[in-house]
Homo-oligomer: 198 residues x 2
Amino acid sequence: MVSRTESAAATRRELVAAAAELLDESGPEGVTLRAVGARAGVSRGAPYGHFPDKEHLLAAVAEQCWTGIGDELDRLLADHDLPPAERLERALAGLLDIGRRRPHAYALMFGPASNASAGAAAAVSRTHDQFLSIVSGVIGDPARARQSGALLMTSVHGVVSMENAGHLGVEKWHATGDQLLRRLIGLLAADRSTGDDA
Amino acid sequence: MVSRTESAAATRRELVAAAAELLDESGPEGVTLRAVGARAGVSRGAPYGHFPDKEHLLAAVAEQCWTGIGDELDRLLADHDLPPAERLERALAGLLDIGRRRPHAYALMFGPASNASAGAAAAVSRTHDQFLSIVSGVIGDPARARQSGALLMTSVHGVVSMENAGHLGVEKWHATGDQLLRRLIGLLAADRSTGDDA
DNA sequence: TAGTTCATGTGACGTTGTCATATGAAGACC
DNA sequence: GGTCTTCATATGACAACGTCACATGAACTA
């Protein structure tokens, strides 16, 4: 019925899924190899047949998250009826969304663990390329688009990160993360400077 | 010679200093209560006489870092010969600097641990107020200054965070963190829009 | 059918955070 | 000065953790 390689691949998938679920439910402290194994229906030592250590299991979770975002960006890029500005807005909204609904997974994605495995790093790189492509649809000039894309990406990350850490209280800054990003998008869209910063 | 309260206070200081040193030298994994105690010249259980648990010891480290930045911003604010624009630039440079020279301490400062103790949260709040005050010297309109300050703070944090996690490679984005922030400052300075974003 | 491979289960080890308890010196009171 | 109290620190112990060495048994191969 099930070949050995199929079964092993299924176990690997279940391990990654179990780790992701535990991360969402209980945060990083809840992700123990024993708990992951139990939820995946295997023992505590089983992960070592698929990953060299815990860090690489977490890297696989990060890779899965990045791949999910990448697929979403692919769908946005494939929809040619979508105005470029709205495409960018939806891409940013997707990032904000995962940052708010899955804060622990988000922290993992933007943490050093994403560079622990080659697969995860590739998933990150792919998503960055897609995001730059989406920004290029709005900005035009390639060099300017890259810099604007970088500024958008870092700003979105800064907003989500400070929100999740409780450092972006509206009562202090008189602004929500969404307002900040809308402002930044407006600034970038209205920018008519030359682009040389000597 | 040394009263009991003096000795206890000195031990507490040494524990926080030892934790900060270990954090800088070996990252979060290097900060074990045993190692902290050993470096501070006490035993592994001594921290429990000063902090309810490890998280609060780390919060004390974060508080110390924030207080250090706050003192630096105070010096900038006290120097009335300083042009407001340069004052802001130095404030931002100070944040970038600690983010790059002490990446683990920086991550702790902007992590959830900073909200674990009331003292740490107060140090964060003080620094945010000072930063907003510095931004107000450049922007003028109070509401606009707050929003610009928030955008600057989140963007700086996003840049440093992605740099430290290895997600801001210059070869991909064609931009360094400094260039991104200079661009953002330029955009904010050149902004002449109304301020309503309906 | 016999032999090989390999995913998985299990026992064990060192390390960690944390607590209960013991100790011993500093401060308070007569 | 002697006695009692207080409290910072030291020590032993425990459960949980990541990790490894080894055992097991079923899936492949010949």
